[in-house]
């Protein structure tokens, strides 16, 4: 397992090579000896390769910013940041998971959709739910209309791959 950060356009790996007697980290082929002296809420003190660095640090959900020796550094966090994959490489048909009634259609034939785009709002068991695009594509046809009632498994929307794209 490696730990990566995004620096500008590059992805930089920090490889932990050893932890004793000191943390030893490989960055772009070079080994660095690291000793953490202070780990504060918004500041830090480190010894890297024998040199002491004292600086300031802020962490947000996607970025870590460092102010050190009159320089500001911005890194994007990559580790552990990923979307939950609930998409499936489905076919061209978006089907109803349960019987219900169409409340609204949010798209039209010919429209390009991205994964997660709202297609149809349906109501079933007193609850309104959004049916989203499972993948990118172009709407071939909407098979239902407002107030139409459908059964479980009914095709609601058909997709075709966006022109010029191979599935």
């Amino acid at each position: 397992m490696s730990y990566d950060l995004q620096r500008g356009a590059d992805r930089v790996s920090l490889g932990i090579v050893a932890r004793r007697p000191a943390l030893s980290v490989a960055i772009e082929g070079l080994l660095h000896q690291v000793e953490e002296i202070r780990h504060g809420a918004d500041d830090f003190e480190l010894r890297v390769d024998g040199r002491t660095f004292r600086g300031r640090r802020t962490i947000s959900s996607d970025e870590i910013q460092i102010r050190l020796d009159g320089q500001t550094f911005v890194f994007r966090r990559l580790h552990g940041i990923r979307g939950i994959d609930t998409s499936a490489a489905t076919g061209d048909e978006v089907r109803a998971d349960m019987p219900g009634t169409v409340v609204a259609c949010h798209t039209e034939a010919g429209a390009a959709v991205a994964p997660g785009d709202r297609l149809v709002t349906i109501e079933s068991m007193k609850l309104q739910m959004t049916v989203s695009a499972p993948r990118a594509g172009t709407i071939a046809r909407i098979h239902v209309a407002e107030n139409v009632t459908f059964e479980r498994g009914a095709v609601l929307v058909s997709l075709v791959p966006i022109a010029g794209e191979e599935k």
Binding site: Y3, L14, V25, L46, R56, T58, I64, I66, L68, G70
Partner: protein, 492 residues
């Protein structure tokens, strides 16, 4: 000695805070105005009273003269300090304020109008013996234009009369090139602006931007507070200014300051103003424009003269006249100001936004920080990108540079991109340290001033510090049981 009982500050950000500080020191009650988006801004908290300005556009609220004058009425403020920007050079506003029986802390509307008109102000200056860059405008007789252009002397800049933004501009260095370039410029002028007329003016190469701080009583009495060098500009915006101008011969300084005083006196100038000049390497200087307000960079003058210019503005507006005669105004040491802006110098100074997650302010001898920002504050595109000004004063320019460098290192603004690193690279540049300044400085040294490569010990340490700030990395580094952590990478 009666000054105003209460003064309204019609501005926001660092300048509002700066004016409020002087009001407090002078024992004058203060009123701030603010737009909803600024409700947590420091100027609102600093003032004795704060009045909300309504309006859909935040910057528009601070331009709403009726609401501001109404705020004076409702609070009983007797005078308005406009700061810089917004309504500070709006003659109509100055008139409206005075018509409302209030004092406008600034010059009269006539002078604002005169100096706000590029052509009239230039003619006014020329008419009072202030040098303006020689130029000729093309009339119907094309041949005569070329001859008159040659008479100005080379190098020449040929521009479209109707144009701007550098389109159709040509630099001509000798007679041989003139006709051809004029024809080319004419055709481009015609194409871009629908008007083929062109004009030529003396090109000042590697020009310096020198300006003189003046103060007048409105009765023809004017003093100057010496000059400021404002040559370091990006996108025609100053970012580093200093006083006095480095490497400026004393005789030349005297001539420039005298010209500024001459202009202001001729206009019966009242209150604080700044006369801007272009200075060529040959020692020739030309009038550029006069700003009829307090300048962003006024603190460097305050630091070297020890005079609070806002206090002097208030005294003049209150009818007390000038506090000083020229001989009393002396310069001690050197002061440099940096403008800290929310922008990305490595991406063509694109304005940046975000929330200030962490703010460290500098301190130390000779350090002044004029800011209007707070930690956790959002920086939005609604206002100017300037967040604060850092000013360093020292007994010599070298001392000021050293103090500025240290203060910039101390300063931290995280959460929103700023030009702090860029400013530090400027201040550390040898050409800056030796004072070899001109308006092309940032372009000429662009390569030296660009972001350093990422393999320096500092950037490696920053990368490691960033990782050590991330729980995911800490778990990997410190969450390993023994003896595995000590054994380390081992395969049997």
């Amino acid at each position: 000695m009666i000054l105003f009982r209460k003064v309204l500050v019609a501005n926001r950000g660092e300048i509002a805070c700066r004016v409020l500080r002087t009001l407090r020191r002078l024992g004058i009650a203060s009123v701030a105005v603010y737009h909803r988006e600024d409700r947590n801004a420091p100027h609102v908290a600093m003032a004795d009273e704060a009045i909300r300005l309504d309006g859909p556009v935040p910057s528009g609220a601070y331009l709403d003269r009726d609401q501001i004058i109404a705020a004076c009425r409702s609070t009983g403020a007797k005078a308005i300090h406009p700061g810089y920007g917004f309504l500070s050079e709006n003659a109509g506003f100055a008139e409206a304020v005075e018509a409302a029986g209030l004092a406008f802390i600034g010059p009269g509307a006539d002078v604002i109008r005169l100096m706000g008109d590029k052509i009239r102000s230039r003619e006014f200056a020329a008419g009072h013996g202030v040098p303006v860059a020689p130029s000729v405008t093309e009339d119907e007789a094309g041949e005569a234009f070329l001859a008159r252009a040659v008479a100005i002397g080379f190098p020449l800049l040929i521009k479209a009369s109707a144009g701007g933004g550098g389109k159709g501009m040509k630099i001509v260095r000798n007679t041989a090139e003139l006709a051809e370039n004029a024809a080319l410029a004419r055709s481009e002028a015609s194409r871009y602006f629908g008007d083929p007329r062109i004009f030529a003016e003396r090109l000042v190469e590697e020009p310096r931007h020198i300006e003189v701080q003046v103060m007048g009583d409105g009765n023809g009495n004017v003093v100057h507070f010496y000059e400021r060098e404002c040559s370091l500009q990006r996108r025609y915006q100053k970012i580093v200014e200093e006083a006095p101008a480095p490497n400026l011969p004393a005789a030349l300084r005297d001539r420039i300051c005298a010209a500024a005083v001459r202009l202001a006196a001729a206009a019966n100038y009242r209150n604080a103003g700044t006369v801007e000049f272009i200075l060529g390497a040959d020692g020739e200087f030309y009038f550029l424009e006069m700003n009829t307000r307090l300048q962003v960079e006024h603190p460097v003058t305050e630091m070297v003269t020890g005079i609070d210019l806002v206090e002097e503005q208030i005294r003049i507006a209150a009818g007390q006249g000038l506090s000083f005669v020229q001989e009393q105004i002396r310069i001690a040491g050197s002061a440099i100001e940096c403008r800290i802006c929310a922008e990305e110098p490595d991406r063509d100074f694109r304005p940046a936004t975000g929330r200030i997650a962490l703010l460290d302010l500098p301190s130390g001898e000779g350090i002044r920080f004029d800011g209007g920002i707070l930690a956790k504050q959002a920086v939005t595109p609604a206002f100017d990108s300037m967040l604060a000004k850092l000013i360093a004063h020292g007994p010599s320019r070298a001392d000021a540079v050293k103090r500025l460098e240290r203060a910039l290192e101390q300063t931290a603004v995280l959460g929103v991109p700023t030009n702090l690193d860029y400013l530090l690279r400027i201040v550390r540049h040898p050409a800056f340290q030796t004072g070899r300044l001109h308006t092309g400085f940032l372009t000429l040294h662009a390569e030296d001033l660009s972001a350093p490569p990422a393999d320096s010990p500092t950037s490696v340490a920053a990368l490691i510090a960033a990782a050590l700030g991330d729980k995911a990395f800490r778990d990997l580094a410190f969450g390993i049981p023994e003896p595995h952590a000590t054994i380390g990478l081992w395969r049997n």
